[in-house]
């Protein structure tokens, strides 16, 4: 539980899922302070593996990418691109010995209206949690070999 409290979560999300996202996330930001960070994106397709890696590098223990429902992207395939990029980033972090669950994609279900704070609370309340970041020894060895 203590581990869960200390974990830092970063949430990248498509701004189209919640028009009032700026107002909705304030309470959560106030409650949790630096423990949670939101990054609104004009489209989830804007996410790049680099964003996700940098998020982990800057101290996030878990990174979520929240997209609009499949088929509902206003740039047609932004959320599909996001899924592919996240999968690529997951492969990269697995290579260095991190659990791929540290990066997770959340599709907002079609036909529902949700606010970003409700969604974030649901994500934070999940039982499965990966705990603070620590690179496995095996991965570190592999990294060294590559160098």
């Amino acid at each position: 539980m203590d581990q869960k409290k200390a974990a830092r979560v970063m949430i990248f999300f498509c701004q189209r899922i919640d028009a009032e996202q700026d107002a909705h996330r304030r309470l959560l930001e106030k409650e949790l302070g630096s423990q949670i960070k939101f990054f609104p994106l004009p489209c989830s397709g804007r996410i790049e593996p680099l964003h996700l890696m940098r998020a982990l590098e800057s101290g996030a223990d878990k990174v979520y990418v929240v997209t609009c429902p499949e088929g509902a992207c206003c740039y047609r395939e932004g959320n599909i691109r996001a899924r592919k990029r996240l999968a690529y980033a997951q492969r990269l972090i697995e290579e260095i010995g991190l659990a791929k669950e540290r990066l997770e994609l959340i599709h907002v279900p079609a036909g529902t209206t949700t606010t970003i704070d409700t969604l974030a609370r649901e994500l934070l309340a999940r039982e499965v949690f990966v705990g603070p970041l620590s690179v496995k020894a095996q991965g570190q060895e592999r990294q060294r070999r590559h160098i």
């Binding site: 304030r26 930001e29 106030k30 004009p42 998020a55 800057s58």
Partner: protein
């Protein structure tokens, strides 16, 4: 003739990439791997110099892009798109619009007048200051070279009570006591901030900028700290505590003290004058429907400067509030009717968001004005008001470097100063003092509407 007032500026880069109006949305998937990619053809090298700001995860693509759409049109697979950025639209609110915030950022960064090359695409009238047009009939002279070169246009204003006539005794000596008068080189003072994160660094930035510009910062008595000691000549101390707490040496060094309006205002003014007769006393009045009567009474009672304050949207207190420009016109008009206007100085604060508001509020009757939120915006504030709710500032204003902040503020004020000169030049006025109350040289949409449509029976 005194030397020309000039603010030296130089570009001061932002700490965080600005939130831009539009963003690049480019897919890599499906790329045909053309021999010559359109991204390589970008004349601004936006793709080559691409970087990521990690604290806010802002991509340099968006800030560096100049909206030429060359890549968007050139990609054979149509993989690059430009879209409006919803985060930009969410900046500020209906008064502090994203356009105002972005223009202030650009002025603070460059120190120059923002130029939009595609003309003005907006409506010709709107609420508040947008319902006011100034007469620019002298547009052919002086030339721009004149404004910044040969011609001398003064933006200096005098703050204090003026005597209408001097009296002499038989021996020819002046018997009139001349009240203290402070001259500031531009009609702008820095007012108290309605909200901000922890103030220490921000205050130092304001003081540093005020010192360099030759103006003043209004500071609460409770915010005084040893750091402020070397800036006392640029501080207007606002008394929000016990007057007896003021040490004699502070009173000696302060040029201006501000007191809140209230029942004991005369006693407070007398107390300050007894300690140091050379101190100028501002009376801070919150605007309300009875402000004009109150201003007349206070002026008759010997007030030196009335600091008239509206809220951050330029609105007064009370139900169905009036906008600052209307109330200032009324107060100025009443004082003129009573023959008291030249005796007292009026300073207006609240809702001053753009350079044009400086000229407009002076035309409405203010001698000078107080700026607040734009000072924060110059230091990259996004007017999200998270600090007001106790949430961490997204641009870490609480840890701003005072010297960097001061340079940004100086740049913004320099751009405003240049724009004031443009307005004065275009109106054929050579002094900011003479712009005060020049309502005959401006048109007010509400008045025109009434004039044109009232006779037709339209309710306006």
């Amino acid at each position: 003739m005194p030397p020309k007032y000039h603010i030296k500026t130089e570009p001061v880069p932002s700490r965080f990439p600005a939130i831009t109006r539009s963003g690049v949305i480019a897919w890599d998937e499906g790329c045909l791997k053309c021999h010559r990619c359109v991204k390589k053809d970008c004349v601004y090298k936006v793709y080559e110099k691409r970087s990521l700001e990690v604290r806010e995860m802002l991509d340099s693509l968006d800030t560096a892009c100049k909206d030429c759409f060359r890549c968007v049109q050139g990609c054979p697979q149509r993989l690059i798109q430009k879209g409006l950025n919803p985060q930009y639209k969410a900046l500020g609110d209906s008064y502090w619009t994203p356009e105002i915030i972005a223009a202030l950022w650009s002025q603070a960064e460059s120190g120059r007048i923002p130029v939009s090359g595609a003309g003005y695409g907006g409506p010709f009238a709107g609420p508040g200051f947008d319902a006011m047009w100034t007469d620019m009939s002298e547009i052919v002279r002086p030339t721009r070279d004149g404004i910044h070169g040969r011609e001398y246009i003064s933006t200096t204003v005098d703050i204090g009570r003026k005597v209408m006539a001097l009296e002499f005794d038989i021996a020819g000596r002046i018997t009139t006591t001349v009240p203290p008068l402070v001259e500031i080189p531009l009609p702008i003072i820095f007012d108290m901030l309605p909200w901000s994160p922890a103030r220490r660094q921000i205050t130092l930035a304001l003081l540093e900028a005020a010192q360099a510009l030759g103006t003043f910062v209004v500071m609460r008595q409770s915010e005084m700290s040893p750091d402020v000691a070397r800036y006392l000549a640029n501080v207007i101390l606002y008394i929000d505590g016990d007057m007896e707490d003021l040490r004699g040496e502070i009173l000696k060094n302060l040029l201006i003290i501000e007191i809140p309006d209230g029942d004991h205002v005369e006693e407070m003014q007398k107390f300050i004058k007894e300690k140091n007769s050379g101190t100028l006393v501002f009376i801070r009045m919150e605007l309300n429907p009875t402000s004009a009567e109150r201003a007349v009474k206070l002026t008759r009672d010997g007030a030196e400067v009335l600091h008239l304050v509206a809220d951050e949207y330029g609105l007064e207190k009370g139900k169905d509030p009036c906008f600052i420009k209307e109330r200032m016109r009324e107060i100025h008009g009443r004082l003129v009717e009573e023959g008291l206007r030249d005796e007292v100085t009026l300073i207006a604060s609240g809702g001053i968001a753009m350079a044009e508001h400086v000229a407009k509020i002076i035309i409405c009757g203010a001698d000078a004005l107080g700026v607040d939120i734009p000072l924060l915006v110059a230091m990259e504030c996004r007017v999200c008001r998270r600090c007001k709710e106790g949430i961490a500032c997204p641009v870490e204003l609480d840890s701003v470097d005072p010297l960097w902040g001061a340079e940004r503020i100086k740049n913004m004020v320099a751009a405003w100063h240049s724009q004031l000169l443009e307005v004065l030049g275009a109106m054929g006025i050579r002094e900011a003092r003479r712009l005060r109350g020049e309502m005959g040289r401006a048109m007010f949409f509400e008045d025109l509407e009434k004039e044109v449509f009232a006779s037709m029976g339209k309710r306006v």
